[in-house]
């Protein structure tokens, strides 16, 4: 499934300009203030549901009235025609009840998705999931079917993966089951894929963590040169870490001890300074394969300020290779390593590139990553060895499942997420809202007037171009938290009179 989703890890369709349309972005955390009352959102949902129903009743009543008017046409044809025209206008005209109902439905779905988003965030903030235990293992062993059923039940919420082209009988069965789910649930009751996957992955972790006797691990341990504390791992990480160890065993190497990771350097080139976070996200195209980047490439940009100081920006790419452990380290092995909070070859490559670029201690560094790049960015900024050498002050992620990773100390973090992006749901939790951690969420399905659609292709929801657009919309909306991070980022990545030089580094395993 991961491979199928990542197959769409491209720019997707061009994003239509939102001129004369209203677009909502939801911002949590940071310096701005957002107040939400879930009960109120539920009440608004119910009111708008009623409006949609009443609009339907009004349209039906007008249709009945029109049938009555037609009966009168035999007595006064001209007057009947005028009356029928007026009723037609009230039903199907620009200001008619049909469009009113459609607009009310759009608004209902917009607030419903917002409610689901904030419910997930509230749950993540309050949830204290059960940890490893004998009892959990025993329950799992005695009743594995119940665990499977619980996960399957949550998976039924993931009813839409548009663009998914099934291959073979199992694929077609999966696709058919998803269609069936859509029909049973109805489009307007299903959460968007990003949230639905959050729920399903969380359940998978909570049930699956008991498949292994984690309770036997009594305390923190060191693996691959980094400390892992089982008590601080999330349930899904307790599933992923053993998988990672197994992959290390199978491939015969681990990033901490490997000596075969090479880094080739391309000649430096001048690039434009980025004025804000939207332009910074757009600059992630530079490390995107679809835009000609060599596989395994990351980029370090040096900003020379007019006052003689320097600052740096590191751009990290999204997953490029599906098979884990191949020559290209931008692969699924790096995904599971970073997801588990472990060292990865891409983290090693980025740190080495930063050293080769000549970043001096104390010089400000911003790290930007799309999808996997965001996971690596969060790991890089939190890694004690990297922090001892570099001063990473800003991290921006786009479409990255990083809600389970802690906020790196002393770093301002901005996450960009689309509710329909399935990749953001793989962390199984909402991003925490903290003063130094801002999340911008936007629904491509329901967030813009006149553009309601339940199936958003992953190529669009998980794309650099769409995330740059979301960042631009959040800035245009004057969201204080986003403006704050954007200004901070611009001070590092550009600014008036700054000269920016980009150097590409291509990592390859031996």
């Amino acid at each position: 499934m991961t491979a199928l989703l990542h197959a769409f890890d491209a720019d997707g369709a061009a994003v239509a300009p939102d001129d004369r349309r209203r677009t909502s972005v939801h911002v949590r955390g940071g310096v701005g203030g957002t107040r939400v009352d879930l009960d109120e959102l539920g009440a608004i949902d119910a009111l708008l549901d009623g409006v949609v129903r009443d609009a339907g009743h009004l349209e039906s009543a007008l249709a009945a009235a029109r049938r009555d008017l037609v009966l009168d046409a035999a007595w006064a044809p001209a007057a009947a025609a005028r009356a029928e025209d007026a009723v037609d206008d009230a039903v199907a005209g620009w200001w008619g009840v049909r469009r009113l109902g459609e607009q009310a439905f759009e608004l209902l779905m917009s607030v419903r998705y917002a409610r689901m988003l904030y419910e997930e965030a509230e749950l993540a903030a309050r949830m204290r999931p059960a940890g490893p235990s004998w009892a959990g293992l025993l329950r799992f062993l005695l009743s594995p079917g119940a665990a499977l059923a619980a996960v399957g039940h949550r998976l039924t919420l993931v009813g839409r993966i548009p663009g998914y082209a099934p291959e073979g009988t199992p694929g077609r069965l999966l696709d058919g089951a998803a269609e069936l789910v859509n029909r049973v649930h109805g489009d307007d009751d299903l959460p968007p894929d990003g949230l639905a996957l959050d729920i399903a992955v969380r359940e998978l972790g909570e049930q699956g963590q008991y498949a292994l006797p984690w309770f036997l691990v009594r305390g923190p341990f060191t693996y691959d040169g980094r400390r892992l504390d089982p008590a601080l791992l999330t349930a899904t990480q307790r599933l992923v870490v053993p998988v990672t160890l197994l992959l290390h065993r199978l491939t015969g190497r681990s990033p901490g001890s490997a000596t075969d990771l090479s880094l080739s350097v391309s000649p430096p080139r001048r690039v434009s300074a980025v004025p804000d976070v939207a332009a910074a996200v757009d600059s992630l195209h530079a490390v995107h394969q679809d835009h000609g980047a060599v596989p395994g490439t990351l980029e370090v940009r040096r900003t020379d300020h007019p006052d003689g100081t320097r600052s740096w920006t590191v751009l990290l790419p999204s997953t490029q290779a599906m098979a884990p452990g191949g020559r290209n380290p931008v692969d699924n092995l790096t995904n599971v390593e970073t997801y588990g909070g472990m060292l990865s070859d891409m983290e090693v490559a980025a740190a080495r590139a930063m050293t080769l670029a000549g970043i001096a201690p104390g010089e400000e560094v911003a790290v930007l990553g799309f999808s996997q790049g965001g996971l690596v960015a969060m790991r890089l900024a939190a890694d004690p060895l990297v922090r001892a050498r570099f001063s990473i002050t800003t991290v921006v992620t786009a479409g990255s499942p990083v809600g389970h990773l802690p906020t790196p100390h002393g770093t301002e973090v901005l996450h960009l997420e689309h509710l329909e992006d399935p990749i953001i749901g793989l962390d199984g939790t909402a991003n925490p809202a903290e003063p130094a951690r801002t999340t911008v969420s936007r629904s491509l399905a329901t967030g813009t007037t006149g553009e309601l659609r339940f199936e958003v292709p992953a190529g669009e929801s998980h794309s650099v171009a769409a995330y740059a657009r979301t960042a631009a919309l959040a800035l245009a909306a004057g969201e204080p938290s986003v403006t704050h991070v954007s200004e901070r980022l611009a001070a590092v990545a550009g600014g008036p009179g700054a000269r920016v030089t980009a150097t590409s580094y291509t990592a390859e395993r031996g």
Binding site: R35, E40, L47, A65, W75, G96, A104, L107, S110, T449
Partner: protein
């Protein structure tokens, strides 16, 4: 809006003449419930840029409802004219 402007037409042996006017009037009454619900949906506690955008969309919806009220008024006027014309035609017959 109500059916007071509609002219009742009594047609012996066959119902339905002039009923369109009353039907339009009763349909228009539903709009009031819609407008009340939209007004009640303005958030009081929810505060954010998204909440402001949502409130602006509610205002758009109320604007639409006001325009629709105008259309329904026109429709009712014409339906009333039709009902009167039907009554006249029946009388002349």
């Amino acid at each position: 809006m109500d059916g007071s402007s509609c002219t009742p037409v009594v047609v012996d042996g066959w119902g339905g003449a002039g009923d369109g006017c009353f039907a339009v009037a009763s349909a228009a009454e539903v709009l009031g419930a819609i407008e009340d619900a939209v007004r009640a949906a303005y958030p009081q506690v929810w505060q954010s840029g998204a909440a402001e955008e949502f409130a602006a969309r509610l205002t758009d919806l109320l604007g639409h409802a006001a325009a629709l009220r105008g259309l329904l008024g026109t429709a009712q006027e014409r339906a009333a004219e039709l009902a009167a014309a039907v009554a006249d035609a029946w009388e002349e017959r």
